[in-house]
Amino acid sequence: MARLVDEMEELRIGVFVCHCGTNIAGFLDPREVAEYAGTLPDVVFVKENLFSCSQSGVTEIQNAIKENQLNRVVVAACTPRTHEPTFRAACEDAGLNPFFFEFVNIREHCSWVHKGMAEEATHKAKDLVRMGVARARYLEPREPIVADVEPAALVIGGGVSGLTAALSLANRGIEVKLVEREEELGGMLRRIFRLYPSNIDAREFIARQVEAVEGHPRIEVFTCSTVEGLQGYIGNYRATISSQGVNKREVHVGVIIVATGAAQLDLGEVYGYDGKRVITLIELEERLRNGELGAKNVVMIKCVGARVPERLYCSRICCMTSIKNAILIKEKDPEARVHILYRDLMCYGVDNEALLRKAKESGVRFINYSLERPPIMENGRVRVHSDILGKEIGINADLVVLVTPMVSQDGVEELSRLLKVPLDGDRFFLEAHVKLRPLDFATDGIYVCGTAHWPASVSESIEQALGATARASTYLINKRVTVEPIFSMLLDEDLCRGCGLCASLCPYAAIEMVQTEKGIKAQMIAVACKGCGTCGASCYRRAIKMNHYTDEQLIAQVRAAFSG
């Protein structure tokens, strides 16, 4: 247990200025910053480190804490995203509560963005340090919150991603509730013929997965069902599953995996779509499965409705799906003429590039067109302006395949609101961080995988499903979760009038209005609170305190910003 500093104890602040090799020291003067820090009130120790995060840097900080009885530590270095845990742990090891540590970013926020302006950058670094020291004076000790985790998972969506996630978790001994809104499990793959690049039969593959899920003793399947209600927080979610709109059941789970998949864009009658001579990619898959192509001259038009102003993203899988289908057509009927009209080709990866070569070798013709001059349909012909040849070409076509992008599913807005997880501008689910937390949502205990996330191939969907279950398992297997103790709390019960404003604003349902001896009062559920602070910024009674971002801390920082 780290030492708590007595409120009456005098402030002893230590400031460490990191050179980060030349990342900081190359663009501003850390010595001047350190000297300045020494002049700030209650700063009793200052040191420069070549690398504060290195073993020697951490040791220097720890020794300074012990030798100088420091009770606040300010490190002016890089970003809390990567190094806050390092310095907090260093403080804790030296006997100081980790929340007495304050990070000042003089690299990303200063040296890196003011290269060639050493004087101004040094001046700004001093401002930032002064602000950090001002806030550090008001820091308070906090203890981590540890909560139990229900070893069960809710998987939403019974396609390849959801099935993979459910099996992976169940095989680790976790109870799984799998919710699918359609009558049957299997999702999109039931409508696909063969998968690239392995060329295996999609329906056989998914049928094996479905069988394994349905026969698994630890997986309970809810078809024709949706999730209608959700309460709780990581480790203790209570979800209401509604089957056929009538039967409702509450399940208790520790984590939730969102695997709701995507749909094929339906554009209606563009390019003369009729479902017979002009069809969609999925309709082509069905024809190939049935062996009824019914055409000798096939033209595939790619990026129909994709990478256009109203839908800027690339759907990623359509290039390979059409190339795979072109090869299947040529293998069955080498005399067939297949043209692929494309804007760009997305054939990333060794296997995919090999398939593209194979398609070219087998005689599939690729013609590049531009968004400004899309192909034109004529009776039995397609006219297209080739950007490479610089002229218009006419192609005989007795079957035209429109390759439209994957779009997000119906009902994602409702699910997003229910789970309190965000969607991006294209209505795909948005992860917590594209690089650092690609399968997590910002809400702890909820994960995303597969095409609910963005257009992905089957192998990518499986990788994501396994990744998401691995992330979820860290909590499910430990059965305990440590939550960052940055949560709001009722500062003074007497101040609270029980108006319920905070509870109505809380995006995480982390505030409940409860009857107490003193009347109705707000009660915060610390583990459910994500620390956004909206309640604190709104309470007209100032009865709410946002821990670690208190009014005192923020005001001290704001005032210090302009007091230099």
Partner: protein, 216 residues
């Protein structure tokens, strides 16, 4: 920290500390890391801009921009145009032709207004009023809410400013009217309300004709 944590009183603290401009960066609409915090911030920032313009400051000194944490380029563009805009406006107060003391008084009044129950309640309920309606099921448009804010802001600001000025010295309604630039009849209405609330009283030092008011 979510933009939802941005309390208007802290924005005004920055102006009181002589900031020439305040920039609030929030997640894009519908992409908030904390679900709806950015929309709460939007309401609070817009209201604060209104308050700034009522006290005679350029509302452009307060800027809110939408961006994702992955959009470094956009952040740079926004901050660059922000600082160019603020440079054009000049130092706080000077750019508006308001003296230092007057500025402190007006900003203090503004901070008290944003501290007050009425505005904190209404601005936080704004989204609910727009989507679900109030207690009686009346749904408000953005325009109606904006008008509601106008009324409340003006009333509250006048009240706070009267109170601050009367704390310094007892004054007549007519003198207050000249200082605050509001018709004497309206000042008088405020004074009467404030008297009922026990905030002001008629001073004994009156000259017999027009009463002089003081803060209680």
């Amino acid at each position: 920290m979510c933009s939802g944590r941005v309390d208007p009183t802290i924005i005004l603290e920055a102006f009181l500390s002589k900031a020439d401009g305040v920039f609030v960066g929030a997640c894009r609409r519908g992409e908030c890391h904390y679900v709806t915090g950015n929309l709460q911030a939007e309401g609070k920032v817009n209201l604060t801009k209104k308050v700034l313009s009522y006290i005679g400051l350029h509302p452009e000194r307060l800027v809110m921009e939408w961006m994702s944490s992955g959009e470094g380029g956009r952040f740079v563009e926004c901050v660059t145009s922000f600082q160019e805009e603020i440079r054009k406006l000049g130092p706080l107060g000077k750019g508006e032709g308001i003296g230092t003391e007057e500025l402190q008084l007006k900003l203090t009044a503004a901070q008290r207004v944003m501290e007050g129950k009425k505005l904190r309640w209404v601005v936080s309920k704004r989204l609910e009023f727009k989507e679900k309606g109030n207690l009686y099921g009346e749904v408000f448009t953005e325009h109606e809410i904006s008008r509601l804010f106008d009324e409340v802001v003006m009333d509250e600001l006048t009240l706070q400013e009267i109170l601050l000025r009367l704390r310094m010295e007892p004054l007549s309604a007519k003198t207050l009217s000249g200082m605050i630039n509001i018709a004497p009849s309206r000042i008088l209405r405020h004074l009467a309300d404030m008297k009922r609330m026990g905030l002001v009283s008629v001073s004994t030092e009156d000259d017999g004709r027009s009463p002089v008011w003081k803060a209680v």
